[in-house]
Symmetry: C2
Subunit: 188 residues, 2 copies
Amino acid sequence: MRVLGIDPGLTRCGWGVVDGRPGARPAAVGVGVIRSSAELDLELRLLELHTQVTALLREHRPDVVAIERVFTQNNKGTATGTAQAAGIAALAAAQADRPVAWHTPSEVKAAISGNGRADKEQVTLMVTRVLGLPAAPKPADAADALALAVCHVWRGPAQDRLRVAAIAGGIGAPVRSTTLPRWTGMSR
Amino acid sequence: MRVLGIDPGLTRCGWGVVDGRPGARPAAVGVGVIRSSAELDLELRLLELHTQVTALLREHRPDVVAIERVFTQNNKGTATGTAQAAGIAALAAAQADRPVAWHTPSEVKAAISGNGRADKEQVTLMVTRVLGLPAAPKPADAADALALAVCHVWRGPAQDRLRVAAIAGGIGAPVRSTTLPRWTGMSR
């Protein structure tokens, strides 16, 4: 499975491509940062980001695009731009017919370091170790994007299994009698 | 001047096209709502929105796209989706080589009703009157999009003049001696 991880942002949008499967050591294929100048009009920054993510999708042909789930409650000043960058990356994935998976920052930190509240240095250190890189990826946005991709390689399939099980079990769907525990049908 | 107004949203994204110029009565060219099902994955909702906005740009060929400026502080639950919808509309405009103008809700309300804190009913009533429509546009998102377009027709050129004047006068640029009031130079 090849995963393109995206740490969304307008000024710096981290990306990282990882090949791997659950239980095996993942391998880094590429990593970098898409930048756009804060002096450009917003729509031109979004256009630049869309163009670059589309080019990455063409070049690396990932099976899945993993994007950090954005919470607009945090970092009010930049939250709108971050949400918009995430939306642009998701659009580019949909246009390339690739599925999108969303992971929260704490999910990613827990997956890569075992601690959902790990700091940036710890995440970068673990990404470097796990992927066997000769040097730490910089800036932190690039390391975060690789961590996202690794997180999806390790946790994504489990999430998918849970989702399939949940759908099969009727969670999130209208309750049908067949999904009720057996004993509730005893009196009927 | 033809303006496409966009009241961004994922579940309902209002749009309205208005022809006009400052000082004259504007005319409504088209109005509607782009909907996407909350049951679809986010990236597919964004794709649907992008496709529809791109189609509107091709059909109506506006000179400007006016989008409501989103504040993520408000309506936390839907703020991320609203910001993303606004970003997708701005991207579509940039891809069609159309400039984007952003107006805050209070700017729009003040322009259309004289009151920056007007309620939805008042905005709809005034949009209907100002554009001479036979009936009130529904839902409110459609009326809001028309109000945005009218706001830009009336206020956009003034904003542009202010921006040009500000740049010419050095506002936003490093202060040069020529921008200081004359009397501050008296003692030098």
